[in-house]
Structure formats: structure tokens, C-alpha cells
């Protein structure tokens, strides 16, 4: 099993969700997050005092998939979330030891 974490631009969430649904992904967890990358934030002025907007808002999507599906799922996220401009985000893929559905106690791929 793989966990795919995609950090994307907030307004791309709907497109990514649609794309993942088409891939047959049945569940996902999202959270509103903030962060910065190589570009850092930007400076703004409020009533004559400067302040730096360090952390820009992003959406993080977490999904679990079987090992063999990981590559195609990542591809569809890439296509849906890409604008080609700075700040499109990142995707992290990690291996997961196990998954458990709390209601039934099912484990592994059955629990996805």
C-alpha cells in the first residue's frame, strides 16, 4: 500500500477530486494547510508597516492506494493540479505498513 500526499493550490481541489473519482478512488482526506517553498512568501504593507506573508494557503490531499495503482493515480493528480506556474505544490509517496477499517476490523487492501 502507498500513501499519496498531494499539496496543491486550493482552487485546484475540485479538478483533482474529479480526476481521482474517475480513477476509481473511493475516499480521501483533505486539510487546509499553509506553507512555503523555494519562492518564500511575499511582503505586504498595512497602514504603513511592512509585514511578510510567509505561509501561503494550500490544500493537502491524502489517499491510500494499492501499490500497483500508485503510478496512474499520481499521473492523474499531476495533470489535474498543474498550472505550470510557481506554487503548484508537491506530491509525496510513502509506503504504508497496514490499514484497518475501524467498523469491521478489515485489514490491508480490503480496508482501503
Amino acid at each position: 500500500m502507498k500513501k499519496i500526499e498531494a499539496i496543491i493550490k486550493p482552487f485546484k481541489l475540485d479538478e483533482v477530486k474529479e480526476a481521482l473519482s474517475k480513477e476509481g478512488i473511493q475516499g480521501m482526506t483533505i486539510s487546509e494547510v499553509k506553507g512555503f517553498g523555494r519562492q518564500k512568501g511575499h511582503t505586504e504593507l498595512y497602514r504603513g508597516a511592512e509585514y511578510v506573508v510567509d505561509f501561503l494557503p494550500k490544500v493537502k490531499i491524502e489517499i491510500l492506494v494499492e501499490n500497483e495503482r500508485a503510478a496512474t493515480v499520481v499521473d492523474s493528480i499531476l495533470t489535474a493540479a498543474r498550472t505550470g506556474r510557481i506554487g503548484d505544490g508537491k506530491i509525496f509517496i510513502t509506503s504504508v505498513d497496514d490499514a484497518i477499517r475501524i467498523r469491521t476490523g478489515e485489514r490491508g487492501n480490503d480496508a482501503i
Partner: protein, 568 residues
Amino acid sequence: MSCFSVRRWRQSLLRGAVVVFFAYILSGLAIVSLAADEPQPDPAGIATGDKSTAIDAAGKPFVVPAPTDQSDPDYAQKKKAYDEYQEQAAKEPLAVKLADTAGHTRIATNFGWTLNTGYLVLFMQAGFALLTCGLVRKKNAAHLMMLNFAAYVFAFLAYYAIGYAFQFGAVAVNAAPGNLGGTPTLNQFLIGSGQWGFVGGKGFFLSGPAYDVGSNCLTLFEVVFMETAGYIIVGAICERITFWAFVLCELFVGGLLYPIFGCWVWGGGWLSQLGVSMSLGHGYVDFAGSTVVHAVGGFCAMALAIILGPRLGKYDSDGKPRAFPAHNVAFVVTGTFILLFGWMGFNPGSTLGATDLRISGIAINTNLAAVAGSAAAMLFWSFVFGKPDISMACNGMLAGLVAITAPCAFVSANSAVIIGILDGILVCVGVLLNERVLKVDDPCGAISVHGYCGWLGAVCVGIFADGTYGAGWNGVGAASYLGKAGQGVTGLLYGDSSQFLTQLSGATLCTLYAFGFTYVVFSLVNALYPLRVGPEEELAGLDVPEFGMLAYPEDEAMPDMVAAGSQR
């Protein structure tokens, strides 16, 4: 003793001081207010407004008074006019009865106008609460709303007990509000007399001589003006003052600081009488309170902000200011519009009567200065910093409003626009001056908007007043002024330099008075009981330490969400 119990101990002392203050007022001044008076007040309103208050459009009375001064060169002419009136009145008694009705209706019309415009001014409280709440950080939003709320409550009580009497207790001596029937029972100074009155002396607790319909109408209108000065200070001292110290500030503003200067200018006191006593223009003129209300509030706020010091983290180790951005811009803009709406009561209402048709011009001037001020602030900010700042655009509108408040009745539309532009720029410069040079931390810009722009507004009367209005103002110009009968308040550009001097020195005196009085009193208070919250409370936000609840509980509502989930 732990740090916590020391704070508790101090707080209860401060609370004790508030109670003692009230007890002092109650015991010491109740006697004065209940003393018997001549003439008698009219609590039912059946004797207010008769033929003597019937006047024509030019202000000429229906009743011709009997001339008393035989040495007057016009005595013979006046006597003839009086005799003619008497003869006609005897011939047409029905006309005299009709004049009684007309006079009463005029006063009633003015009551309706004054009360309703007073209600508009009252609504400005809501605008100011929204504006200032939007400008502070989220963690202090509930605290700030409570300050605005308590400002109205406690300042009102102080004004009821002593403030109104100090301000208007002698209004009938030099400045009787004829549009409301004249309030003849408020006729004695506590300190001073004649043209040199300093503090009014009748109407404590609104009893005795103030138990009168005309006086009550005036009280309602004037108390909401005082409240305006009261809430101005919130904008500069918020996010770090303790609640009970703030209550003490409000009692001070409502009971002493505001009413005393108000007496000098609106209660027939010495500043207003300078035209008669020292031949200085029409005396010090402030139509609706650029200085009486706004500069008093603004400079009181400045003194308090200096005593309190800047918010933690406002300046870094090099002294460079940090931004604490507004947490709700929608509140800021909505609040500003409510204030603009309320100002339509503030300025036109200050005629104290709808039968004074100048109200339409005043309303137009007020709006024009507001939009000109806002436009100037937007353009100035874009020019200097690249893009307009929304909160400064709102401050610019308020700056225009504050500045036009004193001259609104005396200037033309074009002058109103110029005044608005001047103050739209001044407010931006003032905010930058406070923030970068003086390092006075003013979260909402109250000092610049109300203090600096209020001062300039009153000075603008002495520059732009065109002489078309205000004949007889403070007893000057009805018969003749600058060689012309019926000459109104006249500024430098229209040929009266003495008016300009009076405005300049009067407005400057106001700033020194408000700043100095507040600084002395609250430096002492601060030395005894610190006005400021502890650093931990300040960093955490004052909502919970001071009031035990958050403005936005859902931000920290994890336990509630779990509870809600478990019920499904």
C-alpha cells in the same frame, strides 16, 4: 503573595475607586440639583413653545418685545414698533392665538428633528464598534466589543450625574437653545459668571431645573455626542488596557473632561463669548464638534496611548514598526458606512431644529467632505506606497467627516471638498507620524482621525467660513459686523483675520487641555494601579483573561466538535 493575587488585589482596589467616585457624586451634588429654582421647569411640555417662539424664515419674532433701555438711540423706533404690535394684537386676538399654536408647532418640529438626529448619532456606536473590532486582531475581538459597549453604559451614567450640569448648567445665560424653547431654567455657572463662565452649575442628575422637556431634548442629543468622544479613545488604547481601568477612563471623559470643554464652547462659556468680551470674531466657533467632541477624544486617546505604551511586539528591537493587520475588513468598511450615516444626524442635527433650513447645505457639505477625504486618502496612499490601503481609505472618509464637523454650517460646497482633501491627506501623514516617528501605538488611527483632523477642522472654520450663516452667533453680527448687518461667521479668505486667530488658538487650547488633563490624571492612576494587562494575557489575547469567553469560539472548539459528533 503570588503574582495572581496581587493583580486580584489591585483590581478590587480599582473597582473600589469606581464605587467611591459614584458615591461622591451622589452625596455631594444631589443637594445642588434639588434646590428650588426660578423660573420653573416644564416637565410636561405644556408651557414650552407659544407665540414668543413663533418666528418667520428670517428669524424675526412675531411678538415685538417692549423696549426697556431708554438710552438706546433706537428707543423711539422700537417703542413705536411695540405700540403698533400691541394695537394690532388687541384688534386681532385670534391671530395671537394662532401664533401660540404656530410657536408651539415650531418647537415640536424641532424636538422631532433633534431627537431623531440624536438617535442617528446613537447608532454611530454600532459603526464604531464594528470599525474598531475589524481593525484589531482576532484574539482581542470580544474584549474590544465589550469596551465599546461599556463605554456607552458608564460614560452615560457619569454624564447624567454631573457631566450634563457641568456642560449645560448655564446654557441659558449666553447660548439659550431657542429652537428648543430656550431652557430658561439652566441659568447658573458653578465656576465663573457672565461672559467668563467655566463650568455650568444646574441640572445635576437631570433633576430640578433639568426636569424639563426642552432640557431633556437637549440632554438626549448632547449625551450621544459625549458618547462619541467616549468611544474614540477605544481605538487607541485597545488590545492592552484592563476593563476596570477603561471604565475609569469613561467616567473621567463623561463626567469631567468632555463636559468642561463643552461648556466653554457650547454651554455659553468663556471661549464662545470671546467675540463679545474680547472682540475676537464671532467667538470660538465649533458647529458640531470637530474639537469639542473629536479633538477632545483624540488627544485624550493620545495621552492614554502614551501612558499605556505600545502593544507587545509592535516595535522590533530596532524600533521598526510591525504590522498587526485587521482581522475583518468587512467590519471595517461596514462600520465606516454606519458612521457616515450617523454623521447625517451629527452635523445637520446640531442646528437643534429643522426650522433652520441650513440643514440641507450642512448635509451636503458633510457628505462631500467625507467622499473627498476618502478619495484623497486612497490617492495619497497609492502614490506613496503603490496601492490603496482599505483601512486608510476608511480612515480618510472619517477624517473628512471629523474635519467638516466644525465648519459644515459656515462653508460652501467647494470649501467642503477642499477641507475633505486636506484632511484625507493629513490623516495619512498623521498615521505615519504616530507609527514611525512618535512611536505612539494607535491600532485604529483614532489619534490621527479625531485628534489631528479635529484640530484642522476647527481651524478651517477660520479660513473658509463665507459669512452667509451664523449672524448673531454667540451674540455677534446680528446688528452689524464687518460693516454689514446680519454678517455671519467669516473666515480669513472672506476678510476676518480675527476669526482665524480665535479658531487657531481655541483649537490648539483644546488639544493642550485634553492631552494635559488626561495625562496628569491617568499618570497618577497608572502609578497607583497599572492600567495595562499583564504580558501573558496580552500575548494570549484578552478575551478569556478579562471576560472568560472568545469572540470566535469555533476557532478553539475541538471539544465541542467531538461532543457534537458523539450525539449523532
